[in-house]
């Protein structure tokens, strides 16, 4: 793919031509509300019925509705990066069944986790439910959510060399045909996981939630008629496009660049820098990723479908700041220049288990570029999510798997000031941090500390939010996968401020040894081991010399800053 891959909405790009709208603006607005409410019903059902904490507690999943041209028409208020390109997955699976002549029937439930179709990795399993009216497909509901295990070499891997080591691949199959479950496939599905019960529970939760959402959409279509509904969809998408164009017009035209740095290829620490560019042009915005390097030997590559989603996610945040919903219309002014076969336009069988991380880092690079165009539109850099997966057997020899996804100190931002409490980066905004009491109740682990760390943040006129240190103790023997993506390069600072500390994940074993890992798969932890996560500090904005002495004193009083460091970084606060 070379250009224009972002603009999949060719049907009406640049505004609807031909026949005028068949819907009044009031009805269009009502239908928009109806779609958003349906998306939220889908979210509530998913959360309330899922079996895995990574879905119900953490919300590592999201869903949306697509029209029959596979355009996203509304999404649930959850993980933005999941739904941005799920329409492409729906399209690909549906087209397969059209090509075979079998087509899609009412009551079919399709399952796909092929990373080169869904954009991320096999753990993210997408479920698709078609909606029928009078025998015709009128819309699709789809939910992608993280399954705890898909029969890879470990519950989460960092050292795979091809996609086949990363779990079973469902290329888009009908797990239910016309309302009847395919028991052969279902057995295959539950046999290809270390956690068959929760996999089955989560699958049913996803399918049930899609059905709930689709019922609401069909009721909406029934109330207003298909013709009005589809005309309203055009109005809604056109409004999204107009908003995006309006926001883009506020930026100075030209080319702005940011730098992306990977620190690790899955096997060894190695700096992999490349440049990304954002070009504000007359008819929209061009994202240039042609500088991206070749695929890496380890699983830090990403399929282009995921990259499209990441870019949409980054650019959506230009147009919407509040709780608003994305739709395909917003994406129309976006164009991508990609280099086919690069690490972020990777082809099967490249390993992609950690695909989310190149996507998060890519969004940070784009943010840096945008911040250089308009400094008040972006904060300093966000921390990446540090991920742990741990697993073992409980006292009844049952397999358990759980995970911790956690992020460091929040960045400062020019218009508002200091960084506050930690925040997930925009790409996984909507994902919730762990509840430690739930985690303790479900795992043989004890949390010893989760406190802010002194002198961890980046100083500046506006300081970053404090980093924090989490200490976990393994009370039984277990195995651990670590993904730490800011272990060398802390999040970027802006306008002359400083960066905070880097991320550091240390394992203290009972024999007294201490080892730091950036990425490791299934390292063994004897009972009594401790995992120390020293999370990065938020980066600052503006020169430290401009911070007021009162603010420095408040940082000292709060214990964010030691006097020694305060005197070093803010000498002006101690003068006179």
């Amino acid at each position: 793919m070379s250009t224009d891959t972002l603009n999949t909405d060719t049907a009406t790009a640049g505004g609807a031509a031909g026949a005028g709208p068949k819907v009044d603006p009031v009805t269009a607005s009502i239908i928009r509300h109806g779609l958003d409410a349906a998306a939220d019903q889908m979210l509530v059902t998913l959360k309330r019925t899922a079996f895995s904490p990574i879905i119900y507690e953490v919300m590592d999943g999201a869903g949306a509705f697509y029209d029959r041209q596979f355009r996203m028409i509304s999404q649930m208020t959850a993980l933005p990066m999941f739904t941005g390109s799920l329409g492409l997955a729906v399209e690909s699976v549906v087209k397969h069944y059209e090509a075979t002549g079998e087509g899609i029937q009412e009551g079919d439930v399709l399952v796909v986790n092929d990373p080169f179709v869904t954009g991320t990795h096999q753990w993210d399993v997408a479920v698709i439910v078609p909606g029928f009216l009078d025998g015709e497909i009128v819309a699709y509901a789809a939910i992608k959510a993280h399954h705890l295990d898909v029969a890879a070499l470990a519950p989460f891997v960092t050292q795979s060399t091809d996609v086949f080591q990363e779990g079973i691949i469902w290329p888009g199959v009908k797990l239910w045909r016309a309302g009847r479950r395919d028991d052969d496939l279902y057995r295959l599905f539950t046999r290809n996981t270390r956690l068959p019960d929760s996999a089955a529970g989560d699958m049913n939760a996803q399918a049930g939630a899609c059905h709930t959402g689709m019922r609401a959409v069909l009721e909406l279509i029934g109330r207003y008629g298909l013709e009005q509904f589809e005309a309203a969809v055009e109005v809604i998408l056109d409004a999204g496009e107009a908003t995006m164009r309006e926001k883009l017009a506020e930026f100075p035209q030209g080319r702005f660049t940011g730098t992306v740095v990977h620190e690790h290829n899955g096997f060894e620490e190695v700096m992999i820098p490349y440049e990304v560019a954002v070009e504000f042009v007359d008819d929209g915005i061009v994202i240039d990723l042609t500088d991206a390097p070749d695929p890496q030997p380890g699983p830090v590559n990403a399929p282009v479908i995921g990259v499209i989603s990441a870019i949409r996610c980054a650019m959506m945040a230009l147009a919407i700041q509040d709780g608003g919903r994305a739709n395909e219309g917003y994406f129309r002014p976006l164009q991508l220049r990609s280099r086919e076969g690069s690490m972020i336009d990777a082809k099967s069988p490249a390993p992609v288990a950690l695909a989310s991380y190149p996507l998060y880092i890519l969004i940070e690079g784009l943010n840096e570029a945008i911040a250089s165009a308009m400094p008040d539109r972006r904060p300093a850099g966000y921390d990446m999510v540090v991920t742990l997966f741990m697993w073992g057997q409980d006292e009844n020899d049952q397999v358990w798997i759980d995970s911790v996804n956690i992020t460091g100190g929040a960045p400062a931002a020019a218009p508002y000031g200091d960084g506050g409490g930690p925040l997930m980066p925009i790409a996984c905004s909507g994902v919730r941090g762990v509840s430690w009491e739930v985690f303790e109740a479900k795992t043989p682990m004890t949390i010893e500390s989760t406190e802010y760390a002194i002198d961890s943040h980046g100083v500046g006129k506006h300081r970053g939010g404090p980093g924090w240190t989490v200490m976990l103790r393994a009370d039984r023997e277990m195995e651990l996968t670590i993904v730490n993506e800011r272990s060398q390069v802390p999040p970027f600072a802006l306008a002359g401020a400083e960066k905070g500390r880097r991320n550091e994940v240390l394992v203290h074993r009972p024999d007294g040894s201490v080892e730091e890992y950036a990425k490791v798969t299934g390292t063994k932890l004897p009972a009594g081991s401790r995992i120390e996560m020293k999370l990065s500090g938020g980066a600052g904005v503006g020169p430290a010399a401009e911070r007021t002495p009162e603010q420095v004193r408040a940082d000292l009083a709060a214990g964010y800053l030691s006097e020694e460091r305060a005197r070093e970084k803010y000498p002006h606060a101690f003068e006179g």
Binding site: A37, A239, I320, D322, E437, E440, T446
Partner: protein, 682 residues
């Protein structure tokens, strides 16, 4: 004799209802709310409505207020100190790393910053101690550290202390011991203990709830104290009771020590009153439509009972307490209409009481929902029953800029504003019902609040609901609902046991402890029959989220077999989510509920005013059915007698609200005075 006064404080008005048990008569009062002096406004409406000798007859004074919520919204709470497990002092600020504040979720907001926590870091103190999830003690409580914290709190002028130790739901000893040590060290302010506040796990949510309790305590406590003594001066001598978020009321004295229970009580009384109405009218399923000046509130009633939920967020902060599942959207009579991305939008911004809608002539310039209704003639007369003169021309004029921008005429803009506001209200009604597996089409719509009966026709059509009920005194119905409550206390504890014989035995002994705890809590004994109930939060093994299910309790014993409870749970789960699982069931939490039944008002005791009659008056108003202007019959509500029939198009006027009935709707007056209207959807 059990005459009683109900006073409900809303954002715009303070409403009063007095029920005289001897005569069965009802007296209605209304006065402006004053957020800066809420208790004075309450006294004002009491003294202006009731002569002292009548006020003195009231055996109960029942109250609904948002004082606690306002303290949170305006950040005017106490200086709070937090004692927590060493290593966890920053939980309150880490807040699960979400983009969530009083505006709701902000998933796209790059520049989002977490709101400042209610307690700054220097006042959040970690204490060496540790309890594990099974209740075993890994580290004993360090008494010296508590003493040191007490000294630091005293030096900092801390007014209230919240104590939240990790896993205290499994073993509360350390929280209790820490309180004791604080007292010994001389701290004499209020202390909130997390295990007594929620007893449920999730440390951030429990911390947030406990801190909110401590934070609003002086505001709520001081308010209730001032109000109680002020009411005495107005000759009110009855038992003072306040509504909780879960519906039901508690004594002022108890609310002063558990203020978090009242934080979300604002829209609850109307739900309780609607429940009673459902039982009187024999409605198995109903949804409410309470439309005020700035917001729309709705809840679902099954067999006259509102659905409860056990967690939620208030101004972006989690609150783990039972509350009536009322959904609110920012759409009311004062909601402002504007254009967003080329589409017409309504609310959540409101003109409020000041400046109010353009039609009220108090300086409002932006078009509101009320202005749209006035433009369409839906209020029938240019003078409201309350005496307010409407500026009809001004209202119409305010819609013109929208008309120009959208390219549709002013009438169509007005119709659009009402339909869009109605659609977001309908969305909330669908959410509150469909999420628990009920279809609003099978139920009735109960409309009240100042603007509820104006919207009932539109909502019934949008939702295909066949029956609309407009209760008596609909504009003050929330105050009426206050009179219909029992005293209710509840306490819950997370236990996580399998639903089997052993689990039930465990639940039974937990219940005994919870009921004992409730008895200790009751500072004031109010006379009345006491009913004890038990409820489980259940889930399938392997799941996390649970469903609440009432279980049979006789003399403190759980009488149902595990299989019977499991079957009822499976059925309820299937109704909610469309499927069930063939795996075992877990008891997550046990809840003890104690109701003290208060004597009820005998009925709404309705009589039409003598001499009032239907005059045959007509007014031109817009019909949403024929999409044209028609003659509507204008009826004064006091002229409608029980059993009397009427039919749309008609507009019914009364001092507190206006009801609009469109073409094809047929109404009859119920014995209680409620208007029961059958719509063409029936």
């Amino acid at each position: 004799m059990s005459s009683r006064i109900g006073v409900d404080v809303g954002g715009t008005f303070t409403d009063l209802i007095f029920f005289d048990e001897k005569s069965g008569r009802v007296t209605v009062g209304k006065g402006p709310s004053d957020p800066t002096a809420v208790d004075a406004a309450v006294r004002g409406v009491v003294s202006s409505t009731l002569a002292p000798e009548r006020a003195a007859e009231a055996r109960y004074f029942l109250h609904g207020t948002t004082v606690g919520l306002n303290a949170l919204l305006e950040r005017r709470g106490a200086k709070v100190g937090v004692l927590t497990t060493e290593g966890f002092r920053d939980i309150l600020e880490q807040a699960r790393e979400e983009r969530l504040d009083e505006r709701g979720p902000r998933v796209w907001d790059h520049l989002f910053r977490t709101p400042p926590p209610l307690v700054d870091r220097p006042l959040r103190v970690g204490i060496p101690e540790r309890v594990l999830p099974d209740g075993s003690v890994e580290k004993e409580l360090d008494a010296d550290a508590v003493r040191a914290a007490a000294a630091a709190f005293a030096a900092a002028g801390v007014e209230c202390v919240a104590i939240v130790f990790i896993n205290s739901h499994a073993a509360a000893d350390h929280e209790l011991a820490a309180e004791r040590i604080l007292r010994e060290a001389g701290f004499d302010g209020p202390v909130s203990l997390s295990h007594q506040i929620t007893g449920q796990y999730r440390e951030y949510e429990r911390t947030s709830t406990t801190v909110i309790d401590a934070y609003v305590r002086p505001a709520v406590s001081g308010y209730l104290e001032r109000l109680e003594s002020g009411l005495k001066e107005e000759s009110v001598d009855g038992e003072c009771l306040i509504t909780t978020s879960a519906g039901g009321c508690i004594a002022f004295s108890e609310a002063r020590s558990r203020p978090f229970e009242t934080v979300m009580s604002g829209p609850v009384a109307g739900a309780v009153g609607s429940g009673v109405l459902c039982r009187e009218l024999g409605l198995p399923l109903a949804v409410t439509a309470d439309v005020g000046g700035t917001s729309f509130d709705t809840c679902l009633l099954v067999d006259g009972r509102a659905t409860l939920k056990y967690e939620g967020e208030v101004v972006g902060m989690p609150l783990q307490t039972p509350w009536v599942d009322v959904r609110s959207v920012g759409a009311g009579g004062g909601s402002i209409a504007y254009i967003e991305n080329g589409l017409l939008a309504v609310g959540p911004r409101s003109a409020g009481a000041v400046p109010g809608p353009v039609a009220y002539g108090r300086g409002g310039t932006e078009p509101t929902v009320t202005d749209a209704a006035v433009t369409l003639g839906m209020l029938a007369r240019p003078t409201l029953a309350s005496g307010l003169e409407l500026d009809v021309e001004g209202a119409r004029h305010s819609l013109e800029p929208l008309s120009r921008e959208l390219g549709i005429d002013v009438d169509q803009v007005a119709v659009g504003i009402l339909r869009i506001a109605g659609a977001s209200m309908a969305g909330a009604i669908r959410a509150v019902s469909i999420e628990v597996g009920e279809d609003p089409r099978d139920g009735a719509l109960i409309a009240y609040g100042g603007a509820g009966p104006l919207f009932s026709s539109l909502l019934a059509r949008e939702l295909q609901i066949g029956t609309v009920v407009v209760p008596n005194h609909a504009g003050n119905f929330s105050a009426w609902g206050l009179l219909e409550q029992d005293m209710v206390r509840s306490a819950a504890l997370t236990i996580v046991e399998p639903l089997d014989r052993g689990g039930l035995a465990q639940a039974e002994s937990t219940l005994a402890g919870l009921f004992a705890q409730l008895d200790e809590r009751a500072a004031t004994k109010v006379e009345g029959e006491v009913v004890k109930e038990a409820e489980f939060d259940l889930r399938f093994i392997g799941q996390e989220y649970s469903l609440a299910l009432g279980v049979e309790l006789e003399d403190g014993r759980l009488t149902e077999a595990p299989a019977a409870i499991a079957e009822r749970f499976g059925a309820a789960y299937e109704r909610n989510y469309g499927h069930r699982f063939d795996v075992g069931v877990t008891i997550v939490s046990v809840r003890a509920v104690e109701r003290t039944l208060l004597p009820r008002p005998s009925s709404q005791g309705f009589e039409a005013e003598a001499g009032a009659a239907r005059s045959g008056e007509k007014a031109r108003a817009y019909s949403f059915v024929t999409e044209d202007w028609l003659d509507f019959e204008v009826i004064d509500r006091e002229a409608l007698r029980p059993g009397e029939e009427f039919q749309g198009p008609a507009i019914v006027l009364e001092p507190t609200t206006t009801s609009y009935f469109d073409v094809g709707e047929r109404g009859v007056v119920h014995a209680t005075g409620a208007l029961v209207v059958t719509t063409p959807s029936a």
